[in-house]
């Protein structure tokens, strides 16, 4: 093997091994990386709201698995949905969630997330973390459901002190499906809410 090849190859190998997101840290490393590097970009109150919204949309499509979230949120209604309804719901959900959560990130400023542990389930993992808050507020337990996506990882649920956002959204949406007599009723309501 020629020396010049080694000179290039070895640093590259080291880079791959040293990158925590790519090394063997798995789902826990993914959450650790996300909370260290991505969360601060979303919570900085100095950033204009429009820019934060754009950043959050980016994070939502890259670090969350919206197809999976949509499926989990609709639960039994997903199985009965027509392909066109599913696609429609997927798009509406993305808009709805980015509108819902963008303004809440200010509350997360200064949050320090420590990974307590990881459990693997069939095809997905739960990453259990504790978030310490500034000003002596009590710490918050945050559990992240993480699925594999495109060879990497993506968030599919956030459980805050025992309250799952997916389950909460599912029960709320389900109530609207029942009340309006079908999935189309929910789609209509979501469209109206997004339009403001």
């Amino acid at each position: 093997m020629r020396p010049w090849f080694l000179a290039l190859f070895l640093p590259a190998l080291l880079l791959v091994v040293a990158d925590p997101a790519r090394a063997d840290e798995g789902a826990g490393g993914f959450i650790r990386e996300l909370s260290a590097n991505v969360l601060p970009q979303l919570t900085d109150p100095a950033t204009p709201v429009d820019e934060r919204r754009a950043r959050f949309r980016e994070v939502l499509s890259r670090d969350f698995d919206l197809d999976k979230i949509g499926k989990l949120v609709l639960g039994r209604h997903w199985r009965r949905a027509k392909p066109a309804q599913r696609a429609d719901f997927r798009g509406l959900l993305e808009n709805y969630l980015s509108g819902l959560y963008t303004n809440r990130f200010e509350d997360l400023a200064g949050l320090q997330i420590e990974v307590d542990g990881v459990r693997d389930f069939e095809g997905w993992s739960m990453v259990y973390t504790t978030a310490t808050r500034p000003e002596g507020k009590p710490p918050v337990l945050l559990d992240w459901r993480v699925d594999r996506k495109d060879g990497g990882y993506a968030i599919t649920d956030l459980v805050i002190e025992g309250v799952s956002m997916v389950i909460a959204q599912r029960e709320e949406f389900s109530a609207i499906v029942l009340e309006s007599g079908g999935l189309d009723g929910l789609l209509l309501r979501l469209r109206a809410r997004i339009a403001g």
Binding site: G75, Y128, P138, D143, E161, G162, S164, F173, L190
Partner: protein, 299 residues
């Protein structure tokens, strides 16, 4: 993330607009006994219609139409009475006064917390509760100042609903109680027991201070509503179905407080209607030595 979520150590108050268990205040013994029988009757399993295909599930809420009516009435009372009162309380009272009020309200809950700790067989916790009560009574000016917190005895609360749960009583159907808000058959029964068995209220009545239990309940309710003003405003403005959202919040929080969500998770797996994820798997107890990583798939 939903804004605020008002995450704090457990209180006996459900996260609700329209009040606190304490709001039930003082029921005459006979009425309480009657209500208890009524609630227990509700808790009895309903005759199942075997063979029928299960309809859309009710998320533990078979009495939804009735509950929605009570919820709407509570909401109306909240809008015209409780929320304005809590708003004014927040604006008018200086922060140290509010802190003192909160400390006293929490302090007065400790004797009944102690009773429940013992009834649940939680010896260590009952010792902590007793120590906290004595310390804050003697050095903390009868609870006005929370000295115990600085001595490693933070406030903790439990209630008779949790005690019933520890004896194996299931949650039963979800209930929205008039004034007291989100509950279920088991926790509603717990409130009734509390309304006649709270040692502090009993002491008040013995001392001919008959109005004090009601005053206490009223202050606790306003304090609770004040602390959740922004959070509940946010929920109300941003949810598509506020009733359903409060219901799931109450049920998930209670399940988490009572056994970390264990039972809810197992029941969800059995029902199988929402496939793999009816309820998230309970959190392992890492503080008691659960290994940080287990690589083989968990059950």
């Amino acid at each position: 993330m939903r804004k605020g979520f008002e995450i704090r150590p457990r209180t006996s108050c459900p996260p609700v607009a329209s009040g606190c268990p304490a709001a039930v205040g003082r029921l005459p013994g006979v009425a309480a006994a009657f209500l208890l029988v009524f609630l227990l009757a509700l808790a009895a399993p309903l005759p199942s219609s075997a063979g029928e295909e299960p309809k859309d599930i009710s998320y533990g809420d078979p009495l939804e139409p009735l509950n929605r009516i009570v919820f709407a009435v509570n909401e109306m009372l909240d809008t015209i009475v409780l929320r304005p009162a809590a708003f004014v309380y927040g604006k008018v009272m200086p922060a140290p006064v509010k802190r003192g009020v909160r400390n006293v309200i929490r302090h007065l809950s400790l004797p009944f917390t102690f009773v429940n700790d013992v009834a649940q067989g939680e010896w260590e916790r009952s010792g902590d509760t007793a120590q906290r009560f004595l310390l804050n009574t003697m050095i903390g000016f009868v609870g006005l100042v929370d000295v115990a917190e600085d001595h490693g005895l933070p406030h903790r609360s439990t209630d008779f609903g949790s005690t019933l749960a520890s004896w194996g009583v299931g949650e039963g159907p979800y209930l929205v109680l008039p004034l007291a808000g989100p509950s279920n058959v088991r926790d509603g029964a717990g409130l009734i027991v509390q309304s006649v068995a709270d040692p502090v209220d009993i002491a008040f009545r013995r001392a001919d201070l008959d109005h004090m239990p009601l005053v206490r309940a009223g202050v606790a309710t306003i304090d609770f509503r004040h602390r959740n003003l922004d959070t509940l405003d946010d929920f109300k403005a941003n949810t598509l179905d506020y009733y359903a959202f409060i219901r799931t919040l109450y049920r998930q929080r209670r399940a988490f407080e009572i056994d970390g969500g264990q039972e809810m998770y197992l029941r969800g797996k059995q029902d199988g209607e929402d496939e793999e994820y009816a309820y998230p798997p309970p959190r392992p107890d890492f503080s008691r030595g659960a290994p940080p990583v287990e690589t083989r798939p968990a059950q």
